[in-house]
Subunit: 350 residues, 2 copies
DNA sequence: AGGCGTTGCTAACTCGGTTTAGCTCGACGG
DNA sequence: CCGTCGAGCTAAACCGAGTTAGCAACGCCT
C-alpha cells in the first residue's frame, strides 16, 4: 500500500546534481548560495515532474519544527460552540501553514497530561488548552513548548501563560444596554443575580456577565427588577425560573437570560402562559447558539466569538513570548434579532 | 523555550550500554534479543529517572509509521453532530494509541487535496474522509494510505473504499413503526414525500429515510396521508410546511419530520395554531439533535449515531484491506421521548 | 607567475531513533 | 588443544531531509 515516495535524493539524481544543491534550490536558498539559474530551473522542473514532496518526519527531525499545533479541549461535543472554536483554530493553523492535532481531556488532568505528552513527543510547535465554558485550570508544567489558555484562566495568579477569553463583562453591558435602549426599566434576570453573590459556582462567565449587567444598569440608576439563580443553565432550568416569575404576577417587561438555553426555556414558559415575545416580554441572552436563529421570533443574543477565540489562540502561540503573556479579551458582538420590543408594545397593539 | 530533550543516547550512556541495547530494551525486544535481566532493569530505571521520551519524528522516519490518523470533514461547525463524530474518532484513535489530525475542506476538492497532501507528508497511517450529511463524493486518487469514507458514498460505483454510513432505511422504518405502534394511520410527512420522486436533490439520507418509511407503511397497507418536500431542512421550512398542512384543514394525526430542525418548525406551527403536542399531533423525526431533548414535550427521534460512526471509521482504517472494503451500516436507535401519543388523545381528555 | 577573490557546487556531518550483521567471551565436546 | 555453539552485547548502516565547511575552476591584479 505504501508506495515508494520520491525523495530528495531521487530528485537530485534525476537532475544530475547533489542532494545539497537540490535541497538548497527547493528551500529557496538557491540565490543566497549562488546556484546558477539554469540548475535551479532544472531542479525545480524535475521536482515537479516527479511530484516530489519532502518527508515531514525528516524535516522535523532535523529542524525541530513540525508545522503542527495541538489543541486540547475538555470536551468537544457539547455543542456547535466547540465546533466553531475548533474551526477558528483550524483556520488559524491553515494561515500559518500548520496542521492541527486535537485531543479531548474529558476534564481529566491525567488524560490531559497524556495528550500533552503525545503531542510534545510529536514535536508540536505549540499547544492550546481550551475549555468549553470559561473556568480556572492549573497550568501544566514542563511542557517546553508555547502554551495558550483558551476560554480558560490559570488557577495560579502569576502564571506566565497567554490567555484568550471572551469579554464577558462587555457582553453583560451590551445585553443590558440593548434592553435599556429599547426603553425597558423592569429587567428580570434568569440564571443569576440579582446581586453578585447569586452566581452559580465555578462559572466565570456568570460572574462577569452579571458584573457587566449591574454596571450598565447602575449607570442608568437602576437595579434588576428580580433575579433567579439557576445551578445549571439548561432549558428546563430557564423554563422553571421563568414560570415562577410569571406566577409571581409579572405580566410584562424584559427578561435577560444568562445563556440561550435558558432563553429557550423562557420562551416556552412565556408561550405556555399565553404571553408573547416580544409584545409582552422582551428577551435577550448570551452565546448565540445556533438555536437562537431558529426560535420564533429570533432571539437577540450576545454572541460568544468562538471562531475568533480559536483563531486568536493559534495566533498567540506564534507571538513572541513577551508580547503574548497576558490576557486577550475578545469582544462579544450583539446579534440583534426579533426578541426585543419597546415596553408596552402589547398594550399599544390593542 | 525548547529545552534539550533527553535522547536515547543519553539513556544509553547513563546506563552504560550501547544505543542498540537501550533501544531493544525500551521497545520490549530485550528478551527476544537476549538482553540480560539486570541490564534491562538498569536501562528501564535510567529511562524513567531521566523521563526519557522517544522522539516521534525519528521513529516515523525510520519505521514509516506515525501513530497518527487524519480526519477530514467537509465542515466541522454545522452542529454538535460533527462534534460527536470527531469525538468518536478521537476515542477510536485513543484506543489504538494514535493521535488525530483534523482538517476541514469546506466542500472544496482543492482544499481537500491540500489537506490530504499535508497529512500524507506527515506520514499519517490512514485518513477518514467525512461528510456532515450523507452524500456522494469522488474518491481521491494516489493517496497511498488506507482511506475510509464516513457518512459519504463513493461517486464511482466500483471504488474500493471502505464506507461507514448510518442505516437510514432502518431509521425510516423505525420512525414509521413508532407511529404505527401508537395506533396512527394518518401520517403526514414534512421534508420529503409522499413518493420517492419527492426528495431534495443530493441527499441520500432523505431518499433512504423515505424508502424505509414507505416500506414500513406499505407493510401495514398504508401510504403517507400527505407529504411536503422542503428544499432545505431548516426550522423555518418545517414551520412553513406544517403551517400549510394545518391550513389545509388537518386538525390531528401524526407528523413525521425528516430531521429535528424541521420538527422544531413543526412544533412552532402547531403551537401557534393552538394545537398541542402530543395530544393533537404526534411528532417524530430524525437526528437526535441536542435540541430534541430541550423541546417541550421532548421530541422522539431516530438518532444519528455520530459517535459510533466516528469510532468505527477509525477502526476500519486499521482493518485488513480485504475485510474492510464494503459498506458498513451503523444502526440508528430510536430515542423515545414525549412527542408521541395515541391518536384521539385530545378528544379523550375532554 | 603567483596570490586573491569569486562563482558554483558538493562531501560529509547531523537530527534520534531502528535494525542488521557480527563480535567477544566462556563453556563444552571430541 | 582446537573447534563449535550460544549467550550477551555492540558497531555501523539507515531513514530523508537540513546545514557547515570547503573544494575546484576561473578571472583579475600586480
Amino acid at each position: 500500500m505504501h508506495q515508494k515516495r520520491v525523495t530528495l535524493a531521487d530528485v537530485a539524481k534525476a537532475a544530475g546534481v547533489s542532494r545539497t544543491t537540490a535541497s538548497l534550490v527547493l528551500s529557496d536558498r538557491g540565490d543566497e548560495l549562488r546556484i546558477s539559474e539554469p540548475v535551479q530551473q532544472r531542479v525545480r522542473q524535475v521536482a515537479a515532474e516527479l511530484a516530489y514532496r519532502p518527508n515531514a518526519a525528516s524535516q522535523v527531525l532535523r529542524t525541530g519544527l513540525s508545522r503542527t499545533f495541538g489543541f486540547i479541549s475538555d470536551t468537544v461535543a457539547t455543542s456547535q460552540l466547540a465546533g466553531d472554536m475548533i474551526k477558528g483554530a483550524l483556520e488559524g493553523a491553515r494561515r500559518h501553514d500548520h496542521m492541527l492535532f486535537i485531543g479531548e481531556s474529558e476534564g481529566s488532568e491525567d488524560e490531559q497530561a497524556r495528550l500533552i505528552q503525545a503531542m510534545v513527543d510529536r514535536q508540536v510547535d505549540g499547544i492550546v488548552i481550551a475549555s468549553m465554558f470559561t473556568r480556572e485550570r492549573p497550568v501544566p508544567s514542563g511542557v517546553g513548548r508555547p502554551l495558550v489558555f483558551l476560554n480558560t484562566v490559570p488557577a495560579e495568579p502569576r502564571a506566565q501563560v497567554p490567555v484568550v477569553i471572551p469579554d464577558e463583562i462587555g457582553a453583560g453591558r451590551a445585553a443590558a444596554r440593548a434592553l435599556l435602549d429599547a426603553g425597558h426599566r423592569k429587567i428580570h434576570l434568569i440564571g443569576a443575580g440579582p446581586t453578585l453573590d447569586d452566581v452559580p459556582p465555578l462559572t466565570i462567565a456568570g460572574r462577569e456577565r452579571l458584573e457587566g449587567i449591574l454596571q450598565e444598569l447602575g449607570g442608568a440608576g437602576l437595579e434588576p427588577a428580580s433575579g433567579r439563580r439557576c445551578g445549571i443553565w439548561l432549558p428546563e432550568d430557564g423554563w422553571r425560573a421563568t414560570a415562577a416569575l410569571l406566577r409571581s404576577g409579572v405580566a410584562d417587561g424584559a427578561i435577560l437570560c444568562f445563556n440561550d438555553r435558558l432563553a429557550l426555556g423562557a420562551y416556552q414558559a412565556i408561550q405556555e402562559a399565553g404571553f408573547r415575545v416580544p409584545q409582552d416580554f422582551s428577551v435577550v441572552s448570551f452565546d448565540d447558539h445556533q438555536l437562537a436563529g431558529w426560535l420564533r421570533p429570533g432571539l437577540t443574543t450576545v454572541a460568544l466569538p468562538h471562531y475568533e477565540l480559536g483563531r486568536r489562540a493559534i495566533d498567540a502561540l506564534l507571538a513572541p513570548a513577551a508580547a503574548a503573556a497576558g490576557v486577550e479579551r475578545v469582544p462579544m458582538p450583539l446579534r440583534a434579532r426579533g426578541s426585543i420590543a419597546a415596553p408596552g408594545a402589547a398594550a399599544d397593539a390593542h
